[in-house]
């Protein structure tokens, strides 16, 4: 990607956004009748679908049941056609497992699991292209809400990167591929608590604050959007119920 200018002198990114601007987000809740909760989200070209089953009795080995809270079980798989080069297996590789684990940590922090001891909540996510973790979390949040499972707060996630001394919010695939530091943040916007923070590249600690702030601001922006989607959904649902 040599010579690719991620941030122009005028402050525009490759796809025409400014540093702090999100990609276009569109979301819908209740896309599957079969599942307890489901949601579909588009963040630019990244599309994720999340379904939630539960809370229900523990399936499989009873030994996995936790005495004081619910078990959150997450599975992530991405469609074979979701990336430029076609993938061999949709799930089960290391990246998918890691992503599943991260999602699980995130939602264990957000769902009031102690309300449902000895039960299980399943979140399945399917996604496509760039900014995957964030889209998955946002989709899963909506799906969990759709399922009516009590949460402390929304979980809103956003990625952020760092180019030429400027923090960029919501990285696209091109920006991710350029190889700069990339930070993933899942935030509980009302309390400002961080559910998950992950970064695996080197970044000087002086810059961390700024990148974190960019990601947090973006996550708060995501929250306003998700909130709007939920309210819209509730309004539609109540109309259907003939209220």
């Amino acid at each position: 990607m040599a010579g690719l200018e991620l941030l122009s002198d005028q402050g525009y990114r490759v796809d025409g956004r400014r540093a702090g601007e999100l990609r276009k987000i569109q979301a819908r809740m209740g896309v599957f009748a079969q599942a307890d909760g489901s949601a579909y989200i588009e963040q630019g070209n990244t599309k994720a679908l999340a379904v939630v089953y539960g809370p229900h009795e523990i399936r499989g080995s009873r030994a996995r049941a936790l005495p004081d809270r619910a078990l959150v079980n997450c599975q992530y798989s991405s469609a074979t056609f979701s990336t430029g080069e076609r993938k061999r297996r949709p799930h089960g590789d290391r990246k998918s497992c890691e992503m599943g684990l991260q999602l699980r940590q995130t939602f264990e922090a957000a769902i009031l699991t102690q309300l449902h001891p000895r039960s299980q909540i399943d979140i399945y996510v399917l996604q496509a292209d760039g900014g995957t973790y964030a889209a998955c979390v946002n989709a899963a949040t909506l799906a969990v809400l759709d399922a009516g499972i009590p949460m402390r707060d929304f979980v809103c996630a956003c990625s952020a990167g760092f180019v030429d001394g400027t923090a960029l919010a919501d990285l696209s695939h091109v920006e991710e591929a350029a190889g700069g530091p990339q930070l993933a943040l899942a935030l509980l916007p009302a309390s400002g608590q961080i559910a998950l923070l992950e970064m695996d590249a080197r970044l000087h600690e002086d810059h961390l604050e700024r990148v974190l702030e960019a990601a947090a601001q973006a996550a708060r922006d995501v929250h306003t959007l998700l909130d709007r989607v939920v309210r819209q959904h509730v309004r539609e649902a109540s109309i259907l119920l003939g209220d």
Binding site: G11, Y12, G84
Partner: protein, 926 residues
């Protein structure tokens, strides 16, 4: 903000891949014209002028903005720079991402056509937009393009369009602008004789293929200063053999210009040549003498082992053209508009320019830019850029040498000055954090007379335990220059303060350099101190670094300090402190020399300036006192201590300075020269070199030792800054120290500022920042510093050379004793100790019969008629200023003694043959 469709693109990377990218088109990009109600304040960055000045164009009488297309902008940027005339250029091309002017690539349309169309659409949009803005002032956007088809299309679409030439010609107020246009028009070249001189350059793709397969080599083209038909190419990469390739002859140079990145092809071994030692300058005015030149340069036959890899340029990878300073050589033909321009830098070929103001430009220093070099032309084509002023004027000449050596010398910008501390400035509580109060110590500074940027001060006192405490206090510049701000960036760019004979080009603004950072006496100043506890044998027992506040008790000159040390009846604190320092310094120096540090010599001169006119009135070689070496000794010690400390703390990214040992072949000339005097110089180690230099004395020839040392200096390598993580050889050869850095002059060297920051972090007095611990960034800084440093040195020498000329201009013709430094094939290089002046005496003349010259490379010696010249021979030369060639005024030297009929000139002649031998003042290019 509105989001639009995504577009698809197919690329090949191994297999076929489909890439989907989205593109957001914006509706919030303003037009940039102030007062535009439709866009509001949406526009950021440079704005258009509210009311474009009227450049009085006859083709477009109403006020207008110009919208040049990309090619025009790129090629004519130099002319566009000139303020006032082109300022109305539309400041930014409207971004292709904006909603109204987005253009989709059409089927069968290539990227260039698409761009052209995008610019046309933008021009159209601007015209409609500006019409909406205000009905009464008829603002218009004029589209400037040199592409005929593009222009036709534009006019079809109703956009007023002109070619660059048409527009500039129509500017009635500025007729001289037409000269500045880069001549790209094809018609210009058709006039040339159809004869093709050069072979074609290969296209880049072929070159890259060739470089990959090893048939071609990539390197930096360096023209020779002394012979315009010769050049070397430094091959990039680590390949040890064929590091340097010689190119000879115009055809093989193939239009490469100094500093270009070129691809060369090696010639078969049978065609290899040796570097010629002939000094040759391009003086020919006409174009036909190419063939003749080719012949003359072939005739040099040389021994086998002198042959070096020889090649020819097959293509140019990257041109490194910049605007060049120089003078116009007016064409002989009257009314001619084509003239040759001779750059001040001898390595740059002459440039053909077209101008109507030749008569006004004659005798002026001007700047010219190269536009291109067609295959059928002997010289490159260029255009006139700027007039600097009259030749020989001090300001003009100083400007020229600053420009030629790429020394940034513009006044500091507002942005830079805004980071200066506000006056009146005083030390606050916050400043005192992490700082030791050393105001009670008896500190003094010792500097050359007239020094205003005092960056070091010293003290020495006896401790209760009988040991001595010695402190070196360095101005705390890094306290004022915070990392990353404009002030820091500017000083990093400048890299060093440049001292010219009558002028100083500061690295940091004057407020810092001569006031807040200068450790003047009787004021509180912030300092970075390095304090040692030593015993009386000058052995270091303890080293401490701390940020401090000091109050210098005296600012002395070297002479004053010496006087205090020497006079018996002065016993105040400062004097005892100085005596203690002096005593320790002597021990330190002795120890250093024992370790093999070199004492080298270079003839340095100082001008006594007339205080009114700033003309040099006298010239003296620098005097060295004990106190000079006293200060130097402690600075060295501080530098070494700091180098150890920062390397200990930051093994990967300490900024250090190294001086590599020269390869043995460098010493050849020194050893040979010494042997001709029956002396032996050992060069296997620095220590043996130092010792044999000490022993090389001749009772009948006291100056010989100095000459040998001067020669030894020429053999040395350049000391360089480097980042410790990028190199593993830290040795400083000249100082015989395993590790070294620069810490003691942060006011005038940027390297020291970085070292200060590193040290401050190491002792916990300051915090680090990302760039400081990035070794690649540090290596980049080092690269720039090394370059600036070298350039500053060259500029300094050029300034001395110019003032020497001024000096001899006022002095007339003098005869002086001189010693031969080098013997060349057709000349000798001599040094005049009295003035520290070096010059070349030529024995070949153009219009006179050549004397018989026999050059022996082994001794080396040059036999002319019956007289033999060896290195170090004493001769007498006549020095005068040669103003016959306005191009380069130079000091001319001609031989007086020993007398050779037909060569030397009688001592008392007054009618000089000013058109005779071309003598030039050598630059001390090392």
């Amino acid at each position: 903000m509105l989001k639009s469709k995504t577009f698809l693109k197919k690329t090949r990377a191994g297999g076929v891949m489909k890439i989907v990218r989205e593109h957001y088109l914006r509706d919030d990009i303003g037009c940039g014209a102030p007062g535009c109600a439709a866009c509001g304040g949406a526009h950021e960055g440079p704005a258009l002028e509210p009311q474009p000045q009227d450049p009085a164009s006859s083709v477009c009488p109403q006020p207008h903005y110009l919208l040049p297309d990309t090619n025009v902008l790129l090629h004519q940027i130099v002319s566009a720079w000139r303020p006032g005339t082109w300022a109305s250029v539309a400041s930014s091309l409207r971004l292709p991402g904006s909603l109204e002017t987005y253009v989709e690539q059409e089927q069968g349309e290539n990227a260039n056509d698409r761009n052209d169309r995008a610019i046309r659409v933008a021009a159209k949009w601007y015209n409609e937009h500006l019409k909406k803005m205000s009905a009464d002032n008829q603002l218009q956007v004029i589209f400037i393009t040199n592409d005929r088809r593009n222009k036709e299309k534009a006019i079809e679409e109703g956009i007023p369009a002109f070619t660059c030439e048409e527009y500039v010609k129509s500017l009635t107020a500025n007729p001289e602008l037409i000269d500045r246009l880069a001549c790209l028009s094809e018609e210009g070249n058709e006039i040339e004789s159809g004869k093709i001189i050069f072979s074609e350059h290969l296209p880049l793709s072929k070159l890259q293929q060739g470089i990959k397969s090893g048939t071609y080599l990539q390197g930096t083209f360096r023209a020779s200063r002394e012979n315009y038909l010769e050049a070397t190419v430094w091959i990039h990469g680590d390949n040890e053999e064929n590091k340097e390739i010689i190119l000879q002859g115009l055809k093989h140079l193939n239009r490469a210009v100094h500093e270009d990145i070129v691809a060369v092809e090696l010639l078969p071994k049978s065609q290899w040549v040796a570097p010629s030692s002939v000094v040759l300058h391009d003086e020919g005015q006409n174009e036909e003498d190419v063939e003749k030149e080719e012949e003359t340069e072939r005739m040099t036959a040389v021994s086998e082992k002198m042959l070096k890899p020889t090649g020819r340029v097959v293509g140019i990878i990257k041109r490194n053209w910049r605007p060049y300073c120089g003078m116009l050589s007016k064409s002989d033909i009257k009314e001619s508009r084509r003239h040759l321009f001779t750059p001040a830098d001898k390595r740059i070929p002459r440039i053909r320019i077209e101008t109507r103001q030749a008569s006004t430009l004659e005798g002026r220093r001007i700047i010219v830019a190269i536009d291109g070099w067609p295959r059928n032309s002997r010289y490159p084509n260029g255009h006139f850029v700027r007039n600097l002023g009259d030749v020989g004027e001090k300001e003009t000449e100083t400007e020229v040498l600053l420009l030629e050596h790429d020394v940034p010398h513009q006044p500091f910008s507002q942005a830079v000055l805004s980071f200066l501390p506000k006056m009146p400035w005083s030390i606050t509580e916050k400043d005192m954090k992490n700082r030791e109060d050393l105001r009670h110590l008896c500190i003094c500074s010792v500097d050359p007379p007239g020094c205003t940027d005092i960056d070091d001060a010293l003290h020495c006192r006896e401790l209760e335990n009988g040991n001595l405490e010695v402190g070196v206090h360095i101005a705390d510049v890094s306290h004022f220059i915070r990392p990353g701000n404009a002030l820091d960036q500017e000083s990093a760019r400048r890299g060093t303060t440049v001292y010219l004979c009558e002028k100083r080009i500061d690295m940091v603004p004057e407020l810092l350099s001569s006031n807040l950072c200068s450790l003047k006496c009787d004021v509180d100043r912030l300092a970075f101190s390095c304090i040692w506890e030593m015993n009386h044998n000058a052995e270091i027992l303890k080293t401490k670094f701390t940020k401090s506040v000091i109050n210098s008790k005296a600012s002395l000159t070297y002479a004053e300090a010496q006087l205090r040390i020497d006079s018996a009846n002065m016993n105040d604190d400062i004097t005892t402190s100085l005596r203690g320092l002096n005593k320790l310094a002597k021990i330190l120096k002795k120890r250093r020399i024992e370790k093999g540090a070199l004492t080298l010599s270079s003839p340095e001169v100082r001008f006594h300036m007339d205080s009114e006119t700033h003309d040099p009135i006298d010239l003296q070689t620098k005097e060295l006192r004990e106190t000079n070496s006293m200060v130097e000794e402690f600075m060295l010690l501080a530098n070494i201590s700091v180098a150890k400390k920062i390397h200990e703390e930051f093994s990967e990214h300490a900024l250090l300075r190294k001086h590599p040992a020269p390869p043995p072949s460098n010493y050849e000339i020194l050893v040979k020269a010494a042997r001709s005097r029956n002396l032996e110089i050992k060069t296997d180690t620095a220590k043996s070199l130092a010792e044999s230099l000490d022993q090389a004395e001749s009772p009948t020839f006291p100056y010989l030792n100095t000459l040998l040392r001067i020669l030894a200096t020429r053999c040395m390598m350049q000391a360089v800054y480097f980042c410790s993580g990028m190199d593993n050889d830290f040795h400083h050869y000249g100082l015989a120290s395993p590790i070294y850095t620069h810490f003691t002059s942060p006011i005038r060297r940027y390297a020291d500022v970085i070292v200060h920051r590193l040290l401050a972090v190491a002792i916990g007095a300051d915090c680090t920042y990302p760039e400081l611990t990035d070794k690649h960034k540090l290596a980049d800084i080092c690269k720039n510093l090394n370059f600036r440093h070298k350039m500053a040195q060259y500029a300094q020498r050029a300034s001395v050379a110019f003032h020497t000329q001024l000096f001899f201009k006022s002095k007339g013709i003098v005869s002086e004793e001189a010693y031969i430094l080098f013997v060349r094939k057709n000349a000798i290089v001599v040094l005049i100790p009295k003035y520290g002046l070096e010059g070349t005496v030529f024995f070949e003349e153009k219009d006179k019969p050549n004397p018989q010259l026999i050059y022996d490379d082994e001794i080396p010696s040059l036999k002319i008629e019956d007289t033999v010249f060896h290195v170090f021979d004493k001769v007498k030369v006549k020095i005068m200023l040669d103003s016959s060639n306005l191009q380069h005024q130079k000091i001319r030297m001609s031989l007086v003694e020993p007398q050779i009929p037909g060569i030397s000139i009688p001592t008392d002649t007054s009618n000089m043959d000013l058109n005779g031998p071309k003598k030039k003042k050598m630059k001390l290019g090392k």
